[in-house]
Symmetry: D2
Subunit: 138 residues, 4 copies
Amino acid sequence: MSFIYRRTANYYETDQMGVVHHSNHIRYFEEARIAFMKSIGCDVAQMEKEGIIIPNVDAYARYIIPILFGDTAEIEIKLTKFTGAVMRYEYTARLGGNIAATGHTEHCFVNSEFRPMSLRKKFPEYYRRLKDNISTEE
Amino acid sequence: MSFIYRRTANYYETDQMGVVHHSNHIRYFEEARIAFMKSIGCDVAQMEKEGIIIPNVDAYARYIIPILFGDTAEIEIKLTKFTGAVMRYEYTARLGGNIAATGHTEHCFVNSEFRPMSLRKKFPEYYRRLKDNISTEE
Amino acid sequence: MSFIYRRTANYYETDQMGVVHHSNHIRYFEEARIAFMKSIGCDVAQMEKEGIIIPNVDAYARYIIPILFGDTAEIEIKLTKFTGAVMRYEYTARLGGNIAATGHTEHCFVNSEFRPMSLRKKFPEYYRRLKDNISTEE
Amino acid sequence: MSFIYRRTANYYETDQMGVVHHSNHIRYFEEARIAFMKSIGCDVAQMEKEGIIIPNVDAYARYIIPILFGDTAEIEIKLTKFTGAVMRYEYTARLGGNIAATGHTEHCFVNSEFRPMSLRKKFPEYYRRLKDNISTEE
């Protein structure tokens, strides 16, 4: 299973190199992840209201083709790991079919005191939805 | 009384025009305000812990000379109005003595439920410190 | 004539107040302006390639209702003034029909050396398109 | 050799989780790199004027302790690889002596047409300064 998130680059996301600043790819990845999660019934806004905070454990991006102002990147996202306590995503951003950037992020789940927790017992519905959407393809 | 906040422009704050994007001046103004407030004993981080949230009512910037990557702007800030419920600041950003931008912001005080409140009775210390630092000069 | 730009607030646009940071409204306004301009045949990316740079002269936002993560704001934009050398826009951001923020921006046109210029003689097509789309209603 | 860059977190860099948004660490790393480069006579603003553009090849951050508004992180940066065509940096951000985040970035050098190049022959002074400041310690 894969999910595509389309994102057009804004003017203020460029830098004086004339391309989207590399920190923004990390933000695009977040947008893609949140859109994907919503699509499988895991609305991050709602989850936060229920006390589930989802910080990043890490974030990586590799830059291949610069994204320009006005470009629409197609960001493919896959959930490649989910244990209840940790999840991992992989991202491929394409411009016109060519890979512009790749990346991955890892996340944990914490409560409102920032204590790590597992979704398995406390939030079985969210647990199942994420579990059901792990990408099995290579 | 006036307060000067020095800020060097970062690479990622530029856009493809080759200058600091205009939205960042609004952020520089916030930095200047928070530094000023700290200097008079109104630490915004501490105030938030005590339940005082300080949203913007408005924000304005006028752009005269572009700020370039690596430039250090001197941002002069004055508290020009403070009623306990509302405060207003005026900003002048200079580059080498020349005015690069001007602006103003207005703020109110709300509690953690985003209900407006006055500092006067509930927080007399903060009230006094702000009151004592209103700029009287033109 | 008016133009509506829809924008859903991203997670990274919030601050610890739990609302979209006020500097981002200025960015939303830019997105709305660029979408509007494209819709009338004034593609900012293309205009820059032709040597037309469009800096802000000023920017103002007034904050009425906080925009929350996941909210979709409808930003109505009107071109209220255009002389060839200067243009002015007014913005009204709505959430569920209620006004969340208002604002305005003014812009000039400069060449690649940042010298002010008028579109009238050098770029009559762009001049006409903007002139034809000035909002006449109050 | 190592270089320390101190950076206090701004309010607008926080998100509704109440901590500095993870994309900003990537920006802090850039600030640290540019400050380090300046300290060894490689002023990025000047280098760009001479036609040396320095895009990111990749960027990685690992998040250990959240950085809060007002925190001053000490970011240690080391140049761990430099070939003339490519350079790599490693970063350790500390809060009160504790590691808050780590990361690394890789960069190449391109000319104004975004064609890869080596500094070795064309820019021997910059080449030497970077070569002389490669970190040899593990």
